[in-house]
């Protein structure tokens, strides 16, 4: 077959995929961009003609919109850090205690990854709401017994995002564990042996041998988790407060409940732009990880 026919066959085979993605991803993206500057009339209440009012309103410090962005970044950052500490800590524990990653432990760690998002949110809702185990534990032990506060803090629908963080950490720590565990296994054991022969103790070996060799893996798992949590909807929707809102919930409320489509589309474009930057960082860190190991 000639090179030309080969290329034609390639195009024909990928054509359904390209058409699908153009229709389902690029068209809505273009509509969101154009609508955010008033260049379409696809939804009621959009301005008639070009305007940057949506962006001015979003970045206006007098208005509460920026709060949603900071809240999203703050909660995502905190959840990512905690998931990383838990996942990486567990990897180190398993590694240095020489615990084999048997089927039981492997399935146990993977369980949160396989659990549907909405069910995960519901599970944590059932644990944290005032009649849930953790809710009652906080009320009975910390408030009634130790009298640490006058009344129990709300653990769901709270302005600090406690429920969102608790649920997100549970859902995402396995990602760090699985990525870092496979990378740790790839590190040549003779490095550790040599370090031990020279008198290094476990913390030094972690700091001087394993950490530098797996840093790009850690970076890529952190970025992956950050992105996944940043664009999440189900968890903040179920466990979040009415204010401050997660950016995804903010878009939903603006567009569907308030009918403020201009703010809905503007926030969507900003949201997509930030997400694309994070995924670019992820791709770079992944490339470095591949080159490094």
């Amino acid at each position: 077959m000639s090179a030309r026919r080969e290329r034609l066959a390639f195009v024909l085979l990928v054509l359904p995929l390209v058409v699908f993605l153009l229709f389902m991803v690029m068209v809505p993206f273009v509509i969101a961009v154009l609508s955010s500057v008033g260049l379409t009339q696809v939804a009621p209440g959009l301005p008639d003609g070009f305007t940057l009012r949506g962006y001015r309103d979003f970045f206006d410090p007098e208005k509460p919109n920026l709060q949603a962005l900071w809240f999203t970044i703050k909660i995502t950052f905190l959840s990512t850090v905690l998931a990383t500490v838990l996942g990486y800590g567990l990897v180190l524990f398993v590694k240095f205690r020489r615990i084999g990653l048997g089927q039981t432990l492997s399935l146990l760690v993977k369980l949160p990854l396989f659990t549907p998002y909405l069910v995960t949110a519901f599970m944590w809702w059932a644990l944290l709401f005032p009649r849930g185990y953790i809710g009652i534990f906080v009320q009975k032990v910390l408030i009634e017994y130790f009298r640490l506060a006058e009344e129990a803090p709300a653990l769901i629908s709270d302005p600090y995002g406690i429920g969102i963080v608790a649920c997100s950490v549970w859902m995402r720590f396995p990602v760090v564990f699985l990525i870092m565990q496979s990378l740790m296994e790839m590190v040549n054991p003779s490095y550790e042996e040599a370090a031990r022969n020279l008198g290094a103790r476990t913390p030094t070996i972690i700091r001087r041998v394993y950490f530098p060799l797996t840093i790009y893996g850690l970076l890529s798992s952190v970025t992956l988790n950050f992105l996944a949590l940043f664009i999440a909807f189900s968890i903040p929707f179920i466990l979040g407060a009415s204010w401050p809102q997660f950016l995804s919930v903010f878009i939903y409320v603006n567009a569907k409940d308030k009918g403020d489509w201009l703010m809905g589309y503007t926030t969507s474009v900003i949201y997509i732009a930030i997400s694309l930057v994070i995924s670019y960082v992820y791709t770079r860190s992944l490339a470095r990880r591949t080159a490094h190991v």
Binding site: V14, M24, F93, P116, T120, L247
Partner: protein, 276 residues
């Protein structure tokens, strides 16, 4: 001696804490699903266990329609995703094509991953006017298309990975013996890449079954799937954690079983394992 016993105790303690941490949320859902009587004064465990919430679920309302519709949509998402991804996966993963169209393949690989970086809600409100214009809003066909947006990149990754692992000599030998491209695909590639296709299909199916935001935005109230109904049990005006828990098991159990079986099947001896 003491040191070793102490070390074992620490290991048991940490792994025990991990088990409690991971399993506690699942346990609570099971408790709610099977609790017939659970008074707050006996908050540590239900007083009576039984099937009340499941019976109620099947007799009251149209839950069976919701469950049936969820699985029906997931079936069509899987089928449609496979059609698109097997064709594209063959083009992007087969060595012969990669040699000819390397740059195009790399571009496609990057292009396909774009939906994964897009927040579903942002995509959803962009799709709203498109679907409204085409009559796809609040329709099963529209929801199938919407669910495919995220199912396609993951399924494709799995299928391309499987095609990449097919030894190029096999394809070359078949072509040298006069086999056409379609015959080579059918008789050489497909028998070898089926684990990757199964992996992609399982992902597409479970993804669709669990998808929430796009269904809520583009399908509700005409198209109501299990996640949307669960949301109404815990986020609506009438709170019913027991009903939500019972219904959650229709999502949780199939997902866990599918994932477990797929992983086991792929490890057990597929020539080609799932990529990505």
């Amino acid at each position: 001696m003491f040191r070793r016993r102490h070390s074992r105790a620490v290991t048991a303690l940490v792994l025990g804490a991990l088990a409690v941490y991971v399993l506690a949320p699942v346990f609570v859902v099971l408790e709610y699903a099977f609790a017939e009587k659970w008074f707050p004064s006996h908050w540590w465990f239900p007083q009576e266990l039984g099937w009340k919430w499941f019976r109620e679920m099947f007799t009251v309302g149209n839950i069976m329609v919701t469950i049936g519709l969820s699985y029906w949509i997931a079936f069509w998402v899987t089928m449609s995703t496979l059609v698109i991804c097997v064709l594209a996966g063959y083009a992007m993963g087969s060595r012969a094509f990669r040699q000819q169209s390397g740059a195009a393949t790399r571009f496609m690989e990057a292009f396909v991953n774009i939906p994964l970086a897009f927040p579903a809600i942002a995509l959803g409100i962009g799709l709203l006017p498109v679907f409204a214009q085409l009559g796809l809003l609040k329709s099963v066909a529209g929801i199938v298309l919407a669910h495919m947006v995220t199912a396609v990149p993951y399924a494709l990754r799995s299928i391309v990975g499987a095609f990449l692992l097919v030894p190029p000599e096999l394809e070359e030998a078949a072509r040298n013996l006069g086999a056409g491209r379609f015959y080579t695909l059918r008789r050489v590639h497909l028998p070898l890449v089926w684990p990757g296709i199964v992996g992609g299909a399982v992902f597409a199916f479970t993804w669709s079954l669990n998808e929430f935001v796009l269904t809520l935005l583009l399908g509700y109230p005409t198209v109501e799937t299990i996640p949307v109904r669960i949301y109404h049990y815990i986020g609506g005006y009438y709170l019913s954690p027991n009903s939500a828990a019972a219904l959650s098991l229709f999502l949780l159990l199939p997902t866990l079983v599918f994932m477990y079986l797929t992983e086991k099947a792929l490890k057990a001896g597929g020539v080609v394992s799932v990529g990505g």
